[in-house]
């Protein structure tokens, strides 16, 4: 059985729906408080997949993700490196992406994990924004997004504007590490314009992965978009399906795939 560790504590708040997503995808998922890992009550090594869910760890005080990343770095860094070296999967969503960013889990440009290579800055309008966005899948390499071409997922953040140096951007692009970009409903690039690009992200970047494609960080929340009933156009689609004598499927295939891909990969790799 594939085991997923869902990190919690200090204001992370999407752990329940994240756990549900991995369970629905066939894994055993467990919400683990960071202090239980630090105290040794739980061991990172016992899990195949790790997720840093969204939330407001430490209230975003001093900078989003800073404090939680520091706590991990100070107390769990060797375990985390080992987890990565074993080729296990890590997914970070929203605040989880911010934490991973400050941990330097994308290994750019030096290929060494632990060096911060990008930042997630305050949205252009400097305000929290909650809305569904359209995303175009860009990466062949990323394990999580195989088979996903375009999808629609909600974002909810105040600091999600992806930023890096031109050099790092080139490495990301050259290495197929840009995973999702913001686009309009037809798939056309947002080209920085609001609301398709909701935060002013550089090159419309919504998600990146490390060089291995096994560590994914993304601002949008796929765990909130698993079911069609939660989609903003659900009532519209339901009505039109009914007129064609159809019923809507239960799950959003694309968003669900992010989790099933991960579980399938872990299974193949000996979990």
């Amino acid at each position: 059985m594939v085991k997923a560790l869902i990190m919690s504590g200090y204001g992370i708040n999407c752990e329940s729906e994240s756990k549900h997503a991995f369970e629905k995808a066939g894994a055993t998922a467990e919400i683990v408080h960071i202090n239980d890992l630090i105290a040794g009550k739980k061991k990172m090594a016992d899990y195949d997949i790790m997720m840093f869910p969204g939330g407001f760890s430490y209230g975003d005080d001093t900078g989003s993700g800073y404090a939680f990343a520091n706590k991990l770095k100070n107390n769990l860094w060797p375990d985390l490196l080992k987890f990565i070296k074993q080729g296990k999967l890590i997914l970070g969503v929203c605040n989880g992406f911010q934490i991973m960013t400050n941990l330097g889990l994308f290994a750019l440009p030096s290929e060494e994990y632990g060096e911060e290579s990008n930042a997630l800055l305050a949205n252009t309008h400097n305000r929290y924004e909650c809305r569904w966005v359209n995303l175009k899948s860009q990466s062949q390499k990323c394990v999580f997004t195989k088979g996903v071409t375009m999808t629609s997922i909600p974002i909810a953040h105040a600091e999600g504007r992806f930023h890096c140096t031109p050099g790092v951007l080139k490495v990301l692009e050259d290495n197929d590490q840009v995973v999702f970009t913001y686009c309009d409903a037809t798939g056309k690039a947002a080209a920085g314009s609001f609301p398709a690009n909701p935060n002013g992200a550089l090159s419309d970047i919504a998600a990146i992965c490390d060089r291995s494609g096994k560590i994914l960080g993304m601002m949008p929340h796929p765990e909130r978009g698993l079911y069609l009933v939660n989609h903003p156009e659900y009532h519209h689609r339901k009505e039109h399906a009914a007129r064609k004598g159809e019923t809507l499927p239960e799950v959003d295939e694309n968003n669900f795939r992010i989790f099933t891909n991960a579980v399938a990969y872990a299974k193949q790799n000996g979990a």
């Binding site: 919690s8 504590g9 200090y10 204001g11 708040n13 999407c14 729906e17 549900h20 629905k24 408080h33 202090n35 105290a39 969204g54 407001f56 430490y58 209230g59 975003d60 005080d61 001093t62 900078g63 800073y66 404090a67 520091n70 706590k71 100070n74 107390n75 400050n102 911060e116 930042a119 800055l121 305050a122 949205n123 252009t124 309008h125 400097n126 305000r127 929290y128 924004e129 909650c130 809305r131 909600p154 909810a156 105040a158 504007r161 930023h163 890096c164 929340h221 765990e223 909130r224 698993l226 009933v229 939660n230 903003p232 156009e233 009532h235 519209h236 339901k238 009505e239 039109h240 007129r243």
Partner: protein, 984 residues
Amino acid sequence: MPSETIHRIEIDTKEQGSEAQVLEKKLAALGHQVKARISKAYTLRQDFTAEQLEKVAAALHNPVAETARINEPSTLAFDWALELGFLPGVTDNVANTATEIIDDLLSMRLGRNRVFSSKVLFLTGALSREEVENMARELINILIERYHIKSNTEYKQEEGLDKVAPLVKLTKEPEAIEIDLDVPEAELLALGKQGIKDPETGERRGPLALDLDYLTAIKAYFAKEGRKPTDIELESIAQTWSEHCKHTIFAATMDDIDEGIMKRYIKGATNAVREQLGENDFCLSVFKDNSGGIIFDDTWMITDKAETHNSPSALDPFGGAITGIVGVNRDTIGFGMGALPIANKYGYCFGRPEDTSTIYRGKNKTNPSLPPKRILDGVIYGVNVGGNCSGIPTPTGFCFFDDHYKGKPLVFVGTLGLLPRKLPNGELAHEKEAQAGDRIVVIGGRVGKDGIHGATFSSEAMDEGSPATAVQIGDPITQKKLSDAVCKEARDLGLYNSVTDNGAGGLSCSVAEMAEECGGFVVQLEKVPLKYPGLQPWETWISESQERMTLSVPEDKLAAFEELMEQRGVECTVIGTFNNAKRGVVTLNGKTIFDLDMDFLHHGLPDKALTSKPYPYKTQEPRIGVQDPEELFLRILGSHNCCSFEFISRQYDHEVQGNSVVKPLQGKGRVNGTASVIKPLFDSKKGVVMSQALNPRMSEVSCYDMAANAIDSAIRYAIAVGADIKHLALMDNFCWCSSNEPERLAQLKDAARACYDYATVYRTPFISGKDSMFNDFKGYAENGEPIKISVHPTLMVSAVSVIDDVKNTCTMDFKAPGDLIYVIGETRDECGASEFYNVLGKEGGTPPKVDAKTARKLYSTMHALHTTHLLSACAAIGAGGLGVMLAKMSIAGQHGAEIDINLVPATVDEPVRILHSETPSRFIVSVDPKKKAAFEKAMHGFAFAHVGEVRDDAKFVISKGKEAIIDTSVDLLDTVYKERFKEY
């Protein structure tokens, strides 16, 4: 005092950040053309080595976007440096997090008050010092924040900003003092109104809000005890007996209503409804806990509660609103054995934001009140931070604008919760009882001077004496940690017997309330953890410092409880023991400073008798002449109370927890709805529908109908999206004004009577409620004349309904061209207090009458229409009337529409009245032509009519027979609807 080492770390952005860009825009709007850069600053009161400082600085910034300076001035080019920070003692969340980062990083325990956060604005532009000062006052709230300005020259000469730690300096030894009540009546009155006189300074400590008859009863009690009261005892009694805590006006005898209007009309309605419902009664816990609770399914229950935080929000909009929302979250966490918050709701009544005329609390233009726009910005942002940080979705809310809310805004905040009906140990989760012998444990935040006299303050009108200490800053993360530790872990482990919130009155109320369950308590006050030393005992006891819960933990579970809290980063302190000695006792370092009979404390307040006098309602029809119905229609659509407030909806996370089904914005056109639906459990199809409504202007024409309409509106809004009238509960939030005036009491009685009459016919029980009775502003107008601004007597009604399947919900957006448009319900000439009259500046008129008997049948049928999927779109007609609702359905669906108002079922003929009358219990729906026969059959016996069609283009046409009255386009409607708050 020995000098101490202070370091300063400042974090600069490499490029100008969004915050600085948005600040420039904001300053430009205020008339200042400046360039700005913003740096974060940390003042560290600790002797660190250079190497330690390097490490700390590295942990406090992201090197990709930021650089750090340690004890170095900035090298930026600028004209002015403006530092903004907190006043001493104000909760500084950023500093607390920085402290935790440093502790973890350097493996040390810094302790409290070692780190202080601030922001430095480096401004470039032609500004005088005075202009920078004005700017600072625009950017901060001087009640809680400080600023410091240096010119470029000063900054260079003095090598940066000053290294100052804003420490609270209290040197007086804590002690309780005795108060003499054997004093002349005038002195007693002053004691009640302005508070206890400080023996050293001679200053009054702030309102006890105790009337003469209350003080007489207290005097008699202490005469019997044979001693003088202490200050902590008096303060505590004042808290417990406050209007805010004991609802003295609702409980008092009013005219011939001996038992009071609460018992007769509100609880009376609930009792009557529960009896009518018999075995279908879905109530589990009503009016006895921090929230109300109803059945969700066999395993789960839903809780609901709405609160107001009006007075604190008037003084400090951000702090008032954030503590309001996290406070009502604690009413969920503190319900039963601890419910998990699953949805937040908000409702704001503000003055018009474009109103910039200043009103003053003090004479001679002193102590200006904040203008409506600043109150609006602060309140909205407060709920943003409180709700978003807590991971609780905010699916629904509303804004209402009226000049009567300029002096004091109304800030409604509500929370729904989810709780298993039984705990793992088999006990009912909504029952709790502190046991004699249990330890009194407080968890969460520490106690400071913030929030002192909150309960007694909100029982008084706001004037110059309003205490600044009544404001509080929220710390949602401290609360999130305790909420998770309690509701997700300790509860199911059975580690405590009872839990409650520390809200109004702080420990004095929470401990005393829990002690009622067992019969007494002893508290060792010196054990209460403080933010800084030097608090007087009465302050510690009544402080409303936030994010604290009180629990009763049995001795044999204490170690496990303490260990769990430690592991979850939640501060946990035993402060005493519950007992059954019938006395409440507080000691300070072994000395008894408080020793009261529990029965006196809770039930010693004398009965009040109030007399009302009929209110002169203004029902006369105003003279109305409308030249251009289309112009009027667009004006109403774009008016404050009909237009889009999307800017609020989208800054509140409504997707967290993955439960949203009908969202705050409906359709592709993103129109604000009046009700929302969530699906709280992943493994159940069942949903919860929630809505809120108020019609406060109607209080001037008929308070009875105001309440009737608020009830009908809340129910109707919920019904429109799919609610089930057979499983729908209500809550009442009364926000009144001048409740010591007999005419205002008559209005109150009228409204309460309507609550009974309508709730019993609808068979919708009230499960919880709250009142706030003195929403008045007394001060001075811009011209110096004294003014009093009272809110409209306001009743906000919330509805919550459980439905079997969220698939049977419906939104307002037109879904397909060719769909048939129907109007359900009869339209009458009932424009009194409507938005129609309001945009024309007219008052009075005929109030809308609610026919609840017919409406209940209709609502039952509407539910059947939803479950059989006969409707493709559905909306309840509300503010602005039929015309405005039809426009919103077109905007939401981005489809044109055309209707003929001759076909609308109506007893009035004039087009503008058909379009804008606010007759209750009406809907507009659209129906797939294939379902016409089935729909019409289901609607047999009700007033309804097919009035038009959804168009296949973007034209929007309302005609009377062949004559087009309104002929426009969806694009234009969309623009008008979204224009007003576009830049907010």
